[in-house]
């Protein structure tokens, strides 16, 4: 092993000129990026890399997942919880193709993950060799960038570029495909002190003239509203957001990924907007005269019908990605820049203003359309109650990772997230099976935090093999299965839009508590309200992973709902 202690200026642990294998170069690059946990499964093409990992195991923890999709999702959770880059690794061919969903998920949600995949040895490339797949060909449209490294001398530079690209600007997945023989060859090259990519210069502070114009537009508005997106979290701008809102008395709604970037119990917080957003958040978007979009791409699930979204409102949009500005909404004040730095410039220009009439109006909607009232249900436990119980028992301090479907919406609605990086969910791609592996990554990012995976029964089954990883690695995640015996979101759509013609919506589930037990986990199942509360309290106290199979109402729907293609006016609210 050639790596020695002590870091050189470029972050490498090797002294300049010391020969390193390709595998060691990758390990050193991970250390330089501050990555201490990676997720993966070995295979023929990546065995030389695993031999390097063997020598680095005192500094880099390798978590053996049971399906490569879990590696990518766990790395996503790790990245989102730490703000660092996550790393997932697999062998060539099938290992790499198993991570394709994860790359597509990361690019949609702007999450920085570096994928290290083995490739067949260089002489075999292009020959349809065993386990060969053109994975860089596959990953091009779903990554921020990708590399096929054909020369070990390029590897130190490529690895530092990969970590740089994944974590800067608008973060995203970077794929590095490394042939087996490149892992084995040695190089004396080191990474350059500074990454130098001519075609990649993310903006920093937004244009000063535009920032002044934004302040003018905001100051002049009567009914402004801030739409807080994922960018607030990514650039660490929660503090600036709070100042902006309080100084200008500006109400805040958030996107799914913006949840928690503004404290949800704050009087200026009006919750999440969008298809399953709160009715009052959406009403506000119809009446506002100034939309302040911060680190959001105005996704269709959030915006709904564009012409009913702030009709006539001035749009101020700040985002690091110039391609997002003007993509969906016509923008009056476009600002490309890092949110934190740009908001710091904007804040001193914001006048403190009394906006009582507007806030009164919004609070009126909040009063008349409560949206989050949980109806009485004598015969069944409602899934919303489970989320509330987790909120109450954890004192609102748990990190919650939701899966996809109804459970995801309830987990976003019925828990009040006070800080960024408390709620995690796969919003853009919406891949079922995200929550369990992502929760492992979130837990390993900071084991002092309580971590709850809130999943549907259907989504759990997609990556249920990770029960084995939880048990083997002792990852202290609490899993709450909102078991409604259905692909609930599918059932709801078939009820609403296909006149109840249920097709492929029913789930014939196993006993998840027993399944958990068979995996060596603490598993409890119940359908009673009291036992549900007790089980959550038990899990909260228990020192180790727990699976709660919570049999909830089978036909509960998510409200409110704005039917796609219609506007806020036709929002469906809970009829009870």
């Amino acid at each position: 092993m050639s790596a020695i202690n002590g870091q050189s200026s470029n972050g490498s642990t090797a002294a300049p000129g010391t020969p390193r294998t390709g595998g060691e170069v990758v390990c050193d690059a991970m250390l330089a990026a501050g990555v201490d946990v990676i997720f993966g499964m070995p295979g023929g093409a990546s065995l030389p890399f695993y031999d390097s990992l063997y020598h680095y195991q005192d500094r880099i923890r390798h978590v053996l997942i049971r399906h490569e999709q879990a590696a990518g999702f766990a790395a996503n959770g790790y990245a989102r919880a730490t703000g660092k880059v996550g790393v997932a690794t697999s062998t060539s061919g099938p290992g790499a193709t198993n991570m394709v969903t994860c790359m597509a998920n990361d690019i949609m949600d702007s999450v920085g993950v570096v994928y290290i995949t083995g490739q067949v040895a260089r002489p075999a490339i292009g020959s349809d060799a065993f386990q060969e797949a053109d994975v860089t060909g596959i990953s091009i449209p779903i990554t921020k960038h990708s590399y096929l490294v054909m020369d070990v001398d390029d590897l130190p530079r490529v690895m530092s570029e990969a970590f740089h690209l994944a974590s800067t600007g608008r973060p995203g997945p970077v794929h590095v495909d490394i042939p087996k023989d490149v892992f084995l060859e040695t190089t004396t090259e080191t990474a350059p002190d500074q990454v130098n990519l001519r075609g990649y210069r993310p903006s920093k502070v937004g244009n000063a003239r535009m920032v002044r114009k934004a302040a003018e537009v905001i100051n002049a508005s009567e009914r402004p509203i801030i739409m807080a997106g994922h960018g607030i979290d990514i650039s660490g701008a929660a503090e600036e957001l709070l100042l902006l809102a309080t100084r200008g008395s500006i109400p805040v709604v958030s996107t799914l990924h913006g949840v928690g970037t503004f404290p949800e119990t704050h009087p200026l917080s009006f919750g999440m907007l969008g298809m399953h957003g709160l009715a009052y958040a959406n009403f506000a978007m119809r009446q506002t005269d100034c939309i302040i979009g911060l680190g959001t791409r105005f996704d269709d699930r959030a915006v709904g019908k564009e012409d009913e979204f702030g009709p006539g409102a001035k749009v101020v949009h700040i985002d690091i990605d110039p391609a997002e500005i003007g993509k969906v909404l016509e923008t009056d004040v476009p600002i490309v820049g890092d949110l934190k730095l740009t908001l710091q410039k904007l804040l001193p220009l914001i006048e403190s203003r009394d906006r009582t009439p507007w806030l009164d109006q919004m609070n009126g909607w909040r009063r008349d359309h409560p949206s989050l009232k949980i109806p009485d249900s004598p015969d069944s436990v409602l899934p919303q109650e489970v989320v509330r119980a987790i909120y109450d028992i954890s004192g609102g301090e748990a990190r919650v990772i939701a899966d996809v479907g109804q459970n995801q919406m309830w987990a976003s609605q019925h828990f009040w997230y006070e800080r960024p990086r408390m709620f995690f969910s796969a919003g853009g791609l919406g891949p079922m099976g995200y929550a369990l592996p992502a929760a492992m990554g979130v837990k390993l990012a900071d084991e002092s935090q309580d971590v709850w995976c809130v999943t549907g029964d259907g989504g759990l089954l997609i990556n249920i093999q990770e029960f084995n990883t939880l048990a083997a690695e002792g990852i202290n995640v609490k899993v709450a299965v909102l078991n409604n015996a259905h692909l609930g979101m599918i059932r709801q759509w078939q009820e609403f839009f296909y006149e109840g013609r249920y097709m492929g919506a029913f789930l014939d589930n196993p006993d998840f508590a027993k399944v958990a037990q068979a995996f060596g986990l603490h598993g409890v199942g119940t359908s009673s309200r009291d036992e549900m509360h007790d089980a959550i309290a038990m899990a909260h106290e228990y020192d180790g992973p727990v699976v709660l199979d919570l049999h909830v109402d089978r036909v509960e729907n998510v409200y409110p709902m704005i039917v796609p293609g219609t506007g806020v006016n036709s929002v469906i609210e809970d009829p009870r």
């Binding site: 060909g137 091009i140 449209p141 990519l197 075609g199 210069r201 993310p202 990605d321 110039p322």
Partner: protein, 172 residues
């Protein structure tokens, strides 16, 4: 929204394997229509220049420029549509023409300042360089001759000096 027209984008890209795939993949994925694409070396070693003729509305092409610029290997993008620029295309057209028909074809070729670059017993190859519209017009005029094969390079474009090197460059 204004109507669809053809825009000429000129991009400077790192000369790496796969860069053409990335550009093509981007156009396909986002539904942008490429009318033509020409690539060659630029004045700077290690960088190529691509001229891409894109069909779309001004908004669509603006979005296309921004998406192109997001590719790490794309160093700059300029939209030369409507800007002072010289735009050229080269076409080679193989026309079936018996000895008796050749003088007529040669005359038209001459008027369009084309060149006859090859003659065989039954056909001639005409080489035509110029603005795309000129080549299109030439093809319109010779419709009475049976055309066997057309091969066109697609446009390449270069800005005139008064545009300035940074003008029309997508912001990053």
């Amino acid at each position: 929204m204004n109507g669809t027209e053809t825009h000429t984008l000129v991009a400077t890209v790192a000369d790496h394997p796969g860069v053409l795939t990335r550009v093509a993949s981007l156009f396909r994925r986002r539904g942008f229509n490429i009318a033509s694409l020409a690539v060659g070396h630029s004045e700077e070693p290690g960088y190529s220049r691509m001229t891409i003729a894109v069909e779309g509305s001004a908004e669509e092409v603006k979005q296309c420029e921004k998406q192109l610029y997001k590719l790490v290997e794309v160093v700059s993008v300029r939209n030369l549509t409507g800007a002072p620029a010289v735009t050229r295309e080269l076409a080679m057209i193989k026309v079936r023409a018996k000895a008796t028909e050749r003088p007529g074809l040669a005359e038209i070729t001459d008027i369009f300042r084309g060149e006859i670059v090859d003659v065989s017993k039954s056909s001639m190859i005409v080489q035509m360089t110029g603005a795309q519209s000129k080549i299109d017009r030439f093809l319109d005029v010779i419709t009475e001759y049976p055309i066997e094969e057309i091969s066109r390079t697609g446009v390449i474009a270069i800005a005139r000096d008064d545009v300035g090197p940074r003008n029309g460059r997508a912001r990053g």
